[in-house]
Symmetry: C2
Subunit: 144 residues, 2 copies
Amino acid sequence: MSISSRFSVAIHILCLLAINKDKVTNTSEYLAGSVNTNPVVIRKVMSMLKGAGLVHVRAGVAGAKLAKKLSEITLLDVYKAVNVVAENDLFSTHEHPNPECMVGRNIQQSLTKQFSAAQKAMERSLEIVTLEDVVQDILQSDNV
Amino acid sequence: MSISSRFSVAIHILCLLAINKDKVTNTSEYLAGSVNTNPVVIRKVMSMLKGAGLVHVRAGVAGAKLAKKLSEITLLDVYKAVNVVAENDLFSTHEHPNPECMVGRNIQQSLTKQFSAAQKAMERSLEIVTLEDVVQDILQSDNV
DNA sequence: TTACATGTAACCATAATAATTACATGTGGG
DNA sequence: CCCACATGTAATTATTATGGTTACATGTAA
């Protein structure tokens, strides 16, 4: 199973807001056209980004704007904003192992520890990349 | 979304095989009792572990045995054996972004790169832990 | 006040998971 | 040799998550 594409959609939106800063009004309909999805999907993601303080949007007024500089938003910020993986929940552990068995009554504790470490390693990797890096990639790819 | 508990079940099974090496016959029914699931679930996982060369099982003959030493099996080996996350597929990217938009036609490439790095970071974390470590955790917890 | 945008609830089709049933296949003791 | 028993595996089901969509309430500014 994969982590929801909501994360990828959110990054897409934010990069677009930066690149189109002064060119077009970034309505949910316009953004949906670039992502190729439904405007409601965009608005739902946008609502989460707003909740995390990453964008400014107002009901009734067209367009959204970044609330921070690109270099101040890491992929981890976006990941947390759109809530694609809960704390300590990247890996699921089997429920209710048999408490009468030594392995059954003690394994959860060890698994939780190791899984949590693995999840944190992944999150640290997202933390060292900013949206500025992603936008640079995009600009560079487009010039080749 | 979470990674299938099949991974956690597989680790559970392997630890149990090690700890019960000479005490009981580790039939799928017995193992299912400790994990608290259906024997068929165990047999399916066991089949994948067999395919990866981690256990010996034979159709018709009761019980399974480890094919390697505990210290020679990493969590990453188990993770790959049970195929819970495909290569470069921990994160899903949105399909068919608009090729007429600069962001749409270039973002996949950047996302794939970053997502792949994050997945690899997680996998490296699994690679440095062996089943021996997990069994040690279990034995220690049980003595407290 | 009206045209248009956002905010959100509700619903649906689709896909994945884990559990389960059913049965074919393989094995070795008696 | 055959039969009790274990594994191998296909097929089905209930449950759950996701992404898309419709519908409509709410907000804004010209």
